[in-house]
């Protein structure tokens, strides 16, 4: 009952600068994305794609439900993007563990076979490259995060990052090129 009110309220105070509110929101969003992704995968995935854009928009629809200003929505998307990334980092880490043969996660045979394919390696590389970018330029890393894990528009990113839309475009372009270069070099 009060869940939806909480989220909307948290979203507002968070946007107004109260960091603790974001911290309260984060696990809710993380759990939702996690459940949803797992559920979709285990199910038929009918009518759904695993695109982050879709997942994040749906999480918003499920968790927030009410109409909020688009700025608040942008902040929610940014948070979701961060949670999505965290989810993937955790996953990438468990991958690494499996590859080293020391993972705690039991995997069925079919997935063992799958574990070494290109895409999975790509994920680990992407996460590492993004981590490296974050150390050099946190703002660019956060823009990448919002675009690729949150499916956010340039205007939404500009709102959350406090930048002009033109700057967002410029920064993203460099960040993308840098990530690709980094991943290509890492092979």
């Amino acid at each position: 009952m009060s869940e939806e009110l909480d989220i909307t309220g948290l979203l507002r105070v968070w946007r107004e600068g109260e960091i603790a509110a974001g911290e309260k929101l984060a696990p809710l969003v993380y759990d939702d994305l996690y459940e949803r992704a797992a559920a979709i995968f285990h199910g038929e995935a009918e009518g759904h794609t695993l695109q982050p854009t879709a997942l994040v928009h749906e999480a918003f629809a499920r968790l927030v439900k009410v109409d909020v200003e688009w700025q608040s929505r942008a902040h929610f998307f940014a948070l979701s993007a961060r949670m999505m990334r965290r989810l993937l980092i955790n996953h990438a880490n468990s991958r690494r563990a499996v590859r080293r043969g020391g993972g705690a996660v039991h995997l069925p045979l079919q997935d063992e076979l799958h574990a070494d394919d290109v895409e999975t390696r790509g994920l680990v590389e992407l996460m590492d490259a993004l981590q490296a970018l974050e150390e050099l330029d946190p703002r660019k890393a956060s823009l990448i995060e919002m675009q690729y894990f949150g499916g956010m528009s340039h205007a939404e990113m500009a709102e959350v990052a406090g930048l002009s839309v033109a700057t967002v475009g410029r920064e993203l372009r460099f960040a993308r090129a840098w990530l690709r270069k980094e991943m290509a070099g890492g092979e």
């Binding site: 695993l50 928009h57 990438a92």
Partner: protein, 958 residues
């Protein structure tokens, strides 16, 4: 890499990107000199910049799938009730489906177990879940997967266990077997039949989609999850705005109807919509709104706002996208080429699908059976009902809003009563249990009443007999419901349904009982009583029991006032009903005041401008008209028209009727030229809106003709009268009352253009009809008789005219006030001809006073009595008095009518004769000549009025 190096690279990247050709080369050379250690990095960055943008997106998507797949399924092996989960079958928006087993040593059973994912679970939602489960358990059909079991685990995890169907999704079944279009349609018909069966048992599926329709080993479709989605619906809260809800979000977006996306109540029409999406996919292999990469959010926007492309066109548009070969692949799954498939879909199949996909539920097929039949007609090469114009739909809507005697049992009514008996039995069993049960039964009642309320007799065809039987059965059962508030609400709902079916005795009986229940202290709320009173008032209205209707409406308003805060918008409908009731007991002042209050309430509450406002303003305009407050009537009518056009669209019965009334008010003010524009607008809309044989159309035509006659547009008027005659003869026949009134209107035209002998014939035909169908005291007979008298006088038989009119004097009280004045006028004119001036003067003065009182001192309507009085004054030798009267008439005519109009000519001719007889010969002759010219232009030289003027001109020495 250091942050400094990173920054250098970023700046250089931006610089290079802005340069081209030699400038770029020069920059790079300079950069290589200054930063040899970074030159490779910059080159790599620029190369990476050229890579396609989708690469990263694809990688992220893939990674999420990876991450998700790695999670072991926590459900496998769990024990739910007496069932053990063995595998996951699927996952939908509302929960997960598992394969489960039950074994007690005796026998093993396999089933599909569905765990319902309900947020905010509480006692109320659980109770509802259990109730719904029972309805579904009773739904038995060979093509519906049966509900076996269900309950809540640990009291808060609802689950349902259904027959396990080993089958293949309908779409994949069709594609893999390469079924042709006809085979697919045959399968689809079975699905429609099954859905129709459920609708008749009052179960709406709510989530029809391919994964819920499996084809079993016998090739029979099996429908899963009937009504399950209902469990996710939010409970309705009175007055609370509906929000886009979790339920809508949870449903498969592709198959959700616009009303589901908006979170509005779901009806059978929503299933029809989903059937349309299914058919779309089975036929074209596409989704109505495209599919690739659409988020639920985007899809919902499309469902609400975009018109789907025709299935045949959807297949074409794929050519242009990056789907090389896909249309061919889809077509070959149907044993056709892409071009052949397109041709096959074009036309009827496109129309059938699009009719299902209408945004407005009322525009879809009224039932799954209707849809099934249309598909069957297509398969048999018969014309389908989908497509073409929407007259039937329009007519239905009209009938609905006019609450006319249109009777068709709706499916909702059909199924509803079956449920009454079902719930009754359940409630009787479980009444004794405590609060939870009370809550549950309350919900049951709300549920049932909701269905009754939504029972729109126009929305669905059906067998009246069956509906009747079910309703009767419901009445027998309703007494078993113990809770008086619930019984009262059900009695009200059933009373309303009987009312909708035109069975007013049963309706009043049930509503009496409902009201009696609610009058007892402690039963229900004041609003419950108000609603029942309101419902009975509606039935009384149909029975013409206006006083009782008024009493009920008045009490309902008092109760509503006591229940809602002052100025609450929900008061307005109660006030509107009361105002109509007052109007029908001839309390016009009270009616107008109440309508004005209702409208003020709406303004205050911010609800002004809806269709209720438009209805009330339309009625208020008529009330103002009846009260002779024409200016206010016109202003109000125009506002009603504006709102009607806004809320209902230009093509709607409401607007047509308002326009017609606006025309008539203008006519009453003598403003024929302005008024006829409204009538013409009404006619042009009516011709587009109604089927050609609609009874309102000839009436509107005659209202156009009436003004055209007075405006001198005789040819146009006659065209309309001729068309009206054709329509009436076809629709009603030559012996009908409607045709009798046509003859009167036609006669009124003919008498004005000087065809008195024709009018005599028309009036005799009219009287014959009245005698045959009505009697000699009927208004139709009396009006024709009066017209006959006028014709006789025009033909020179004043004495015969007098005889007829004196006969009518005896029945004067049977005529409307305006016609009583006309009778005085005509008799006065006849007596003038006969030289009985004293009585003529008395009659004409009284007639004139009545006309002036009614239409105002400057109205065209008083021209006739003024003219008649002028003639009388001339006849009895007072030409000076005649001049005064005729001058006034000419002034009014000049102001109100177009230049050269025959009515101006008539009064000008009279004025001229008066002037000439008063010795002002030159002025008189000038007017008479001018009038003669206009009359000749209008009627020709042989018209009696022209010949009379010729004589007068000669007598004056002209």
């Amino acid at each position: 890499m250091s942050p400094t190096e990173f920054e250098i690279l970023e700046n250089a990247f931006a610089d290079v990107e802005a340069l081209e050709g030699e400038a770029r080369a020069a920059y790079l050379a300079r950069f290589a000199q200054n930063h040899p250690e970074l030159v490779d990095e910059l080159g790599a960055l620029m190369a990476a910049d050229d890579a396609p943008e989708s690469e990263l997106t694809a990688m992220v998507s893939q990674s999420i799938a990876e991450a998700a797949r790695d999670q072991p399924d926590p459900w496998i092996g769990r024990q739910i009730g007496s069932w053990t989960i063995s595998a996951r079958l699927g996952q939908g928006g509302m929960g997960a489906v598992f394969k489960a087993h039950r074994g007690d040593g005796e026998y093993d059973q396999t089933a599909a177990l569905k765990v319902i994912n309900l947020r905010n679970m509480n006692a109320r939602t659980i109770a509802r879940f259990l109730t719904e489960r029972q309805i579904l358990a009773n739904l038995r059909h060979p093509n519906i997967a049966r509900l076996i079991d269900g309950g809540t685990e640990h009291g808060d995890l609802p689950y349902l266990v259904m027959e396990y169907i080993a089958g293949e999704r309908i779409d994949r079944h069709c594609d893999e077997r390469q079924l042709g279009v006809s085979a697919r349609l045959q399968l689809f018909r079975k699905v429609c039949d099954t859905v129709d069966f459920a609708h008749r048992h009052l179960v709406v599926h709510r989530d029809i989609k391919p994964s819920n329709i499996l084809i079993d080993e016998n090739g029979e479709p099996q429908l899963l999850d009937f009504g399950i989605a209902k469990l996710l619906e939010p409970e309705e809260q009175e007055g609370a705005p509906q929000q886009t809800t979790e339920a809508a979000q949870a449903l498969t977006p592709e198959y959700a109807s616009p009303e589901q996306v908006r979170g509005e109540p779901v009806t059978i029409a929503s299933d029809i919509y989903a059937l349309g999406v299914l058919l779309y996919r089975l036929l074209s292999g596409c989704s109505p709104y495209g599919e690739a990469g659409k988020s639920a959010y985007e899809l919902q926007t499309a469902i609400l706002d975009r018109d789907p492309s025709r299935p045949s066109a959807a297949l074409s548009s794929m050519d242009t996208v990056a789907h090389d070969g896909l249309p061919d692949a889809i077509a070959s799954q149907r044993g056709l080429t892409a071009a052949e498939l397109r041709t096959r879909l074009k036309g009827d199949l496109d129309n059938i699908v699009l009719k299902c996909l209408q945004k407005d539920p009322e525009r879809r097929y009224a039932s799954a059976r209707d849809l099934e039949r249309d598909v069957e007609r297509y398969l048999h090469d018969q014309p389908v009902t989908a497509g073409g114009d929407d007259l039937a739909y329009r007519a239905r809507k009209f009938a609905k809003r006019n609450r006319g005697p249109l009777i068709a049992a709706s499916l909702a009514v059909l199924g509803l009563v079956g449920l009454v008996s079902f719930y009754t039995a359940r409630l009787a069993d479980e009444r004794d249990r405590a609060e939870l049960e009370a809550m549950r039964s309350r919900e049951v009642a709300d549920f049932l009443v909701g269905i009754f309320d939504s029972a729109d007799p126009a929305a669905a065809p059906g067998e009246t007999v069956t509906a009747q039987m079910l309703l009767d059965a419901g009445v027998a059962d309703v007494d078993a419901i113990v809770d008086p508030a619930i019984r009262g609400a059900l009695l009200r709902a059933m009373g309303q349904s009987y009312g909708a079916l035109g069975q007013y005795d049963q309706a009043t009986d049930l509503l009496d009982r409902s009201i009696a229940l609610f009058r007892e202290p402690g039963n229900g709320t004041r609003l419950d009583l108000a609603r029942s009173l309101s419902a009975r008032a509606t039935v009384y209205n149909e029975l013409d029991r206006f006083e009782e209707r008024h009493a009920d409406a008045e009490e309902a308003v008092a109760l509503a006032r006591a229940s809602y805060p002052e100025g609450d918008g929900r008061l307005a409908p109660y006030l509107g009903d009361l105002a109509s009731a007052k109007s029908d007991i001839f309390d016009q002042e009270g009616a107008m005041a109440t309508w004005n209050e209702a409208i003020a309430v709406q303004r205050g509450a911010g609800t002004y401008g809806d269709s209720l406002t438009s209805d009330m303003l339309g009625d208020l305009a008529v009330a103002y008209d009846n009260a002779g407050r024409y200016e206010e009537s016109i202003a109000t009518g125009k506002e009603a028209l504006r709102l009607s056009d806004e809320t209902l669209g230009r093509l709607d019965a409401n607007g047509i009727i308002i326009l017609n009334n606006l025309a008539l008010v203008h006519y009453r003010m003598g403003l024929f030229d302005e008024g006829v524009e409204f009538a013409r607008d009404a006619l042009s809309r009516a011709l587009q809106f109604w089927p050609g044989d609609h009874p309102q159309i000839p009436g509107i035509r005659m209202n156009v003709g009436l003004a055209d006659t007075r405006l001198g547009n005789f040819a146009e008027a006659e065209t309309q009268y001729d068309l009206a005659a054709e329509e009436l003869l076809a629709a009603e026949g030559a012996g009908s009352v409607a045709y009798g009134w046509f003859l009167y209107m036609r006669g009124a035209h003919d008498i004005r253009i000087g065809r008195a002998d024709e009018v005599r014939r028309l009036s005799q035909e009219g009287m014959a009809i009245a005698r045959a169908v009505l009697d000699e005291d009927s208004e139709l007979f009396l009006m024709h008789r009066m017209m006959e008298a006028v014709a006789e006088r025009d033909l020179g038989n004043a004495a015969r005219s007098e005889t007829i009119l004196r006969d009518l004097l005896a029945k004067r009280e049977l005529l409307r006030a305006a016609d009583q004045a006309a009778l005085d006028l005509y008799l006065g004119q006849a007596l003038t001809d006969l030289g009985e001036f004293a009585e003529a003067a008395r009659l004409l003065e009284s007639a004139f006073a009545a006309f002036e009182e009614r239409s105002g001192p400057d109205s065209v309507s008083i021209l006739s009595p003024l003219n008649a009085r002028s003639q009388l004054e001339r006849a009895r030798g007072n030409p000076q008095a005649a001049v005064t009267l005729a001058a006034r008439a000419e002034r009014i005519a000049d102001q109100s009518l177009p230049e050269g109009n025959w009515l101006i000519a008539t009064v000008r001719g009279e004025h001229g004769r008066a002037l000439a007889e008063a010795g002002r010969t030159a002025q008189g002759l000038q007017r008479m000549r001018s009038a003669r010219a206009d009359l000749v232009r209008a009627f020709g030289t042989s018209d009696s009025r022209v010949r009379e003027l010729d004589a007068a001109i000669a007598a004056a020495g002209g």
